[in-house]
Symmetry: C2
Subunit: 554 residues, 2 copies
């Protein structure tokens, strides 16, 4: 009997979460990867900088790896590449702008000599047994693509992040003809973006924001400071155009936006009228009616330019009464409070702030329900896997697909690490591969785990109390200490008597230990911890970490 | 020349923030207080339980204090009373339900023997020079009132939290006649709720939620689990009514909701058909179509009933496939992610979840723009102070008032602690009194300040590294250690070589100190900190707290 061929789809990130998107497609012994993104840490991941997918599956199967296909240049799709490419020598396929952004990231991380191929929408690339097609989509960054992977068992379509924009700021519209053609020929499995599945209707066109910019720029008599996502090149284009129309010069503030503007302009994705772009030192000396500052910080990030400006802590820009600040972004879930605080501070500095929740100076880059239905009906896939979304979004997207006639048993609400396996006879969930979060803290990749995070959590809530003493090895008697040091627990100057009581408790425990001839340090320490923990909770209703340290001399 | 009489309004909380509402009104040497609420801690207030206003002004002027007038029974209006009443012997004036909730709080905090007067809407109370009128308003808790304080210099109207509800679930509508009458007679100053000033139009009636409950309860074939705010008695009433109409028994789960239901039922604010309310042990044995569970946890609070149910960690209730969970609340800013996580877990347990962002199973208790305009136009105050709101909301509310014809110079966008002073000749900002946050951490009231919080912040990000050694007093030589202990910094088992390097660095510093005859501990410790800080940052890009501890023996 001949061996049965198997096609497997394994999402390693982006399912049950927003961020760190990564999908593995395997046919027999050949593997393709779509995207390698990062996620931002959850609140409980104290001190963590970023999170990347656990890609040990790829390390274990490195010989099968044919390439990484990248849909677009957002961090949640490219942010894990510097780590992945340090570990694996694998070719990258991406559009021109996407690759420009990737290469800038890799340079920062000192990763060199990668194999990269620039592709264009409608390009077809043969990789082993796979034939890969790249399909233009609309999104909040130019040069985004969806991907069709033709395999001997059928075609897989991955939308990437997408929306339908009939009046794009630049470039062509999403390639509905190609999606329709694929659907017509037959698609085995669709993976589609679930980010906005909770929103009814259609997502408005990016160009609507441009109209609002035009109006706001005309109405402002003084300076305009506009904050948006650094990577939203179309948004930046529209701001530059609105500035040009109202005879304003434009300065860009904020490292990441300067970086994107440079790359996008160099590669021809930004049209900047000559003389429009000036240095920030020049802009602050222009009359307000001739000045526009583009900046990062639309999410209220603590170190960003707009936040510093709002806190009156920016080196070169300070708010002047009459300034109009436009925040052209909506808060990403979790950032609501920091954005609100930034707005409050800007008002306090005397600015007029035009922000999203009141004025709608933002549109999303993701498809709403009607667009998702259109994609499902264009592709008419045999099987459907909702991707890019928290669990409830995947469920909603599955319900949407079911409403359109895809049988429930052909829809897989999967998890990171799930194996969705296709053979000639059908498809099924076929176990799991290793998946999870790799936490990045400074230079450490994956070295901060549950124990460290649990300790940080306890330290953050009630601080630490350290008891130090030196014992005589021969007699077991205390020869120095007990000394008590606390941090983050109580204000020491007002707690001297409590800390004296702590020392007394420790002396009592030590006396009891000597009576009972207890000399094992582990036992002594545990008794100190128990006695102090109880005592301090009664006195303060707090549970600081209690850390007894014992030294010994001859 | 006779002494000029002065009327002062001093907000001690609720301005530039949501929560801890408290306003002081002083005429010459007589003082009234409106509300004494708490706020929930901001993210950076690590380990803090609640925040109350700094009321040292009242402690310093305790002899002038005539009473605390309470507008309604929400925590942000009554939550500071247990602290205030421990410090001050002052009479409380509140409606029946409000007082019931206050007394339950005080009992928990072991505060007894307070002087309390039950008032009703339209009651008039004489307190010293003041004549105080209580005015019925609609809000998301029954028995809420606004307050008019008649003073020799004119009338002050404070709306409390309010909305307009033309079809209230029970009781009368907001007393527009009294507000109109006050406006007609002339009001010196209006203080009005700014919470919803960013929302255009009218806030829908609470009874709209009841209609949606009826429909959802009819459609559910199996059990209903409904989460809402414990104090929203009207919401609870509507859920009980919907359950009764569909022949369901109701069990209440969650300590705070059980408490409110008991108080409200006892005082006649909840109509529960006989036999409808049953114990949770009974409800879990009923057929799903006959069961409804009301519960707390609509904000995804970690210890709440709904969160435990979602995590499959509740003692008595577990999700069964077919259960409908209704979350009848919108996330308070800052809680978006925990609410989303709870919804995801409920879906994973197999429930069908009906939640606010998709289904609108909630209406706000605060007035939107058109209602705020109506209040301003009914009262037609000479002066206006927007209250209860973050800074941008106060600004928006001020702009709204200006649009309605109140002169800009008669509108005070004030801060906590501002003195707004009225005399015969006019009104002005006249300096500030002490105000601010008192942080409550366990039993500690105000003992956690900036130093402790800064330490908790650092500990939460990169943990702590402790260096301990014992020196000989005579020679200065190291006789024990250096030992290195870390918590929350790195995973120790994988970092042994780094910790060995740390010890070596410490030995080098000590050797250098001995060479230079440096024996002052402060200097030695500072050199250790500097050397290790630099070394560890280079190695890890982290900045743990570094804590050298030195002991000495003869």
């Amino acid at each position: 009997m001949p061996k049965e061929h198997k096609l497997q789809i394994m999402p390693l990130g982006g399912l049950g979460e927003i961020g760190k998107n990564m999908t593995v497609i395997r046919y027999d012994n050949q593997i393709l990867v779509i995207d390698a993104g990062l996620a931002f840490p959850e609140d409980e991941m104290l001190g963590i900088d970023i999170v990347i997918p656990d890609y040990s599956y790829l390390l274990e199967h490195r010989d099968m790896l044919l390439g990484v296909l990248v849909t677009h240049g957002h961090e949640d799709h490219i942010g894990a590449l510097p780590y992945l490419l340090r570990d694996l020598d694998v070719p990258i396929y991406a559009t021109r702008l996407t690759l420009g952004l990737i290469q800038s990231k890799l340079k920062e991380s000192n990763v060199a000599n990668i194999k990269a191929t620039v592709i264009q929408p409608r390009d077809v690339v043969k990789l082993g047994v796979f034939r890969v097609e790249f399909i233009r989509v609309s999104h909040s960054i130019p040069d985004a693509v969806g991907i069709a992977v033709h395999t001997p068992l059928g075609t897989i379509v991955h939308t990437g992040d997408f929306k339908l924009d009939h009046t794009p700021v630049s470039g062509d519209i999403i390639d509905i003809h190609k999606f329709a053609e694929l659907g017509d020929k037959g698609v085995l499995c669709l993976m589609s973006d679930s980010t906005n599945v909770e929103r009814p209707g259609f997502t408005p066109s990016e160009s609507r924001v441009g109209q609002m910019f035009d109006e706001a720029f005309r109405n402002a008599r003084d300076r305009i400071i506009l904050a948006s996502f650094a990577s939203n090149v179309h948004r930046i284009q529209q701001a530059i155009t609105a500035a040009y129309k109202t005879n304003r010069k434009v300065a860009v503030v904020g490292r990441s936006m300067i970086n994107v503007v440079n790359i996008a302009a160099e590669l021809g994705y930004l049209q900047i009228p000559e003389g429009t772009l000036v240095d920030v030192d020049e802009i602050v000396n222009l009359p307000g009616s001739q000045a526009c500052i583009l900046t990062t910080g639309s999410q209220g990030e603590p170190m960003s330019a707009l936040t510093r400006i709002a806190m009156n802590d920016h080196r070169r820009v300070e708010i002047q009464p009459g300034d109009t600040v436009i925040i052209s972004a909506s808060p990403i879930p979790g950032n609501e409070k920091s954005v609100a605080r930034t707005i409050d501070h800007l008002f306090k500095q005397g600015a007029n702030v035009i922000y999203e929740s009141v004025y709608g100076m933002h549109v999303s880059g993701h498809a709403s329900q009607e667009e998702l239905k259109l994609m499902l009906n264009m592709i008419r896939p045999q099987y459907f896997i909702p991707v890019h979304g928290e669990y409830r979004m995947l469920i909603k997207h599955a319900q949407l697909a079911e409403q359109l006639g895809i049988p429930r048993e052909n829809i897989f609400v999967a998890e990171n690490g799930s194996i969705i396996e296709f053979t000639r006879s059908g498809a099924s969930l076929a176990g799991k591969v290793t998946s999870g979060n790799i936490l990045i803290d400074g230079l450490g990749v994956g070295d901060v785990g549950n124990i460290v995070l649990r300790d940080r959590k306890q330290l953050s809530q009630d601080g630490i109390l350290i008891v130090v003493m030196t014992l005589s090895r021969s007699t077991g008697a205390i020869v120095a200490g007990p000394d008590v040091v606390t941090r983050g627990f109580v204000y020491v100057r007002e707690s001297e008597s409590m800390l004296e009581e702590v020392k007394e408790k420790v002396r009592q425990v030590m006396a009891r230990c000597r009576e009972n001839r207890t000399s094992e340090w582990a036992v002594i320490k545990s008794q100190i911890r128990d006695a102090l923990s109880k005592h301090l909770y009664e006195k303060t209703r707090r549970r600081p970490m209690i850390l007894p340290i014992i030294q010994e001399i001859e």
